[in-house]
Symmetry: C2
Subunit: 316 residues, 2 copies
């Protein structure tokens, strides 16, 4: 896919992946509604296959491969959820997946990739090291690379989460999605702008990895240098394809503190009785931090995933 996906392409992607993904439920929570005097609808991508929205993009990308390409295998690099998603999507397609992961990736995520039969190649925990090893594997194996977010097939796949949400809930005023590399946020914004409704899309980002907000304000890509946050899915920087979409269609980027992320995560465990990872909590935190801001609105929140190390919950 060489051009930015329009609404029609998102609809096609949704149709392509529909038989393979979960149509995840939308949950509500009276306590949160009362707390921020609004109606909040949580799109539970933590219940998605492989535990996160990433399975949408991965499935769309793998199913978009040409017959020749799809006969062999795929390569990717990711710290976690995209890795597991590609491994599972490749397994379902009956092809191999070679995954470059940083040596410090979460144990649960490494174990998920192995469960799905992905072949892991560890690298140093830097973006350059990851990309070098991935490029080398591409040269050696000759298989196509499926990037974690900077790819229109991936963006179109992630866009289908918001598409489903808009089918499930009417008249949303706002959608909040977490932002790391920007695949989910750009896809969400494309969906929202593509449908006729007037919906403001907000990105939510940890203070300790705030390249999206800085880029958004500066009007140019400012890569993350030393990200520091427990939201391990949001350490990456925006990409050359995701940033222009975000710049054009996203209303604003909300920064949240580490304390707020942990508070929001625990709140969702306690009150909603569901397991989310810190990156998901980033999109809940603005509702708790800035209650007044969202008063009287109908708000969709994309809970991006639920893959955590249960031995190391952040409030322990």
């Amino acid at each position: 896919m060489l051009t930015c996906p329009d609404y029609e392409v998102i609809l096609q992607s949704a149709k392509r992946i529909k038989p393979f993904i979960h149509r995840t439920p939308v949950l509500t929570c009276q306590t949160i509604n009362d707390m921020c005097s609004s109606e909040v609808f949580f799109k539970c991508e933590n219940f998605q296959k492989a535990g996160s929205f990433k399975y949408r993009g991965a499935t769309n990308a793998v199913l978009s491969l040409s017959e020749t390409e799809a006969r062999t295998g795929v390569i990717t690099q990711s710290s976690g959820n995209h890795a597991a998603a590609i491994a599972l999507a490749a397994k379902r397609k009956g092809i191999k997946a070679f995954i470059v992961m940083p040596s410090n990736a979460a144990k649960a995520k490494i174990s998920a990739v192995r469960t799905y039969g992905g072949e892991i190649h560890f690298c140093e925990p830097t973006i350059s090291s990851r990309e070098e090893l991935a490029d080398r594997l591409v040269r050696e194996k000759g298989f196509p690379l499926i990037p974690p977010y900077n790819d229109y097939r991936i963006i179109a796949g992630q866009a289908t989460a918001a598409l489903e949400l808009l089918e499930q809930v009417n008249n949303l005023d706002i959608i909040i999605a977490p932002v790391g590399g920007g695949g989910l946020l750009s896809g969400t914004a494309l969906t929202a702008s593509g449908c006729s409704q007037k919906i403001q899309v907000f990105g939510a980002e940890p203070q300790g990895a705030d390249d999206a907000q800085r880029s958004f304000i500066a009007g140019k890509l400012i890569p993350q240098t030393a990200p520091n946050t427990i939201a391990d899915g949001l350490l990456t920087s925006l990409g050359s394809l995701t940033f222009p979409i975000i710049q054009k269609y996203v209303h604003d980027i909300e920064l949240v503190s580490e304390d707020s992320i942990i508070t929001a995560m625990r709140f969702v465990f306690e009150r909603m009785k569901i397991v989310i990872e810190p990156s998901s909590a980033v999109a809940v935190a603005p509702l708790i931090e800035q209650r007044g801001k969202f008063e009287g609105k109908r708000i969709g929140v994309i809970l991006s995933g639920g893959n955590i190390d249960l031995d190391r919950l952040p409030w322990m």
Copy 2:
């Protein structure tokens, strides 16, 4: 309610409480299905208001009070979920709730009762101490007592969880519910036997609080003397009203070890991404412990609740 609720009474109870309770979702998990070569449908009462199925019985009991009784307040005694459920049901009705709780009740459960405006009276952590204090409060205040399980209004209310499950899923062969005092299990068995389908109902019980199995085998009530299990909702003994129903309509009682409870609980967190309490995990454990036994069946599992102390997860 002076006679054992029949199917018609359960339907009436469902109608009575419907506007006040959540119709909780039914979730499935491919990994569990694959693991035990069966189809398992989880009725998520952890998503119920006040965090457990107990809100069904509590609401049914409070709404069944006479006009005179309902003008004032109610009294109950419970180690946790029933206490919170009564406090919330009373609050919704606009009356007071006086709750006798053991001094060692889980912090999260004490805090829930307080959130819902219940007035807590602490007692020693023995059943006799609880009952004495509850009786004294009844004499002093003159308010009606709503027991946690040995009460037909409560049993009929709890029976509505299985009723909903049977509306949501067709052709179940088996339903598994945890058993403590037997309110949920007896209600489930009444529902299953009352509908035309041939469904076997199993109780699931911790080895460390196995009075239901012992009573079931002996054919007479054998109260629990020194229960010892992390499933804090299942410490109580069967009651004089719940036992005969269980004896008549329940197929069998499965005992599970503490290790299995913890394994099942963690499995549900990790794979299903939902928060359940140990008592819920007791009904999942037989599927993991005795995989062969349930092969080829369509199984409903009632996940009874999700109220846990997140600072003290049992695998930590």
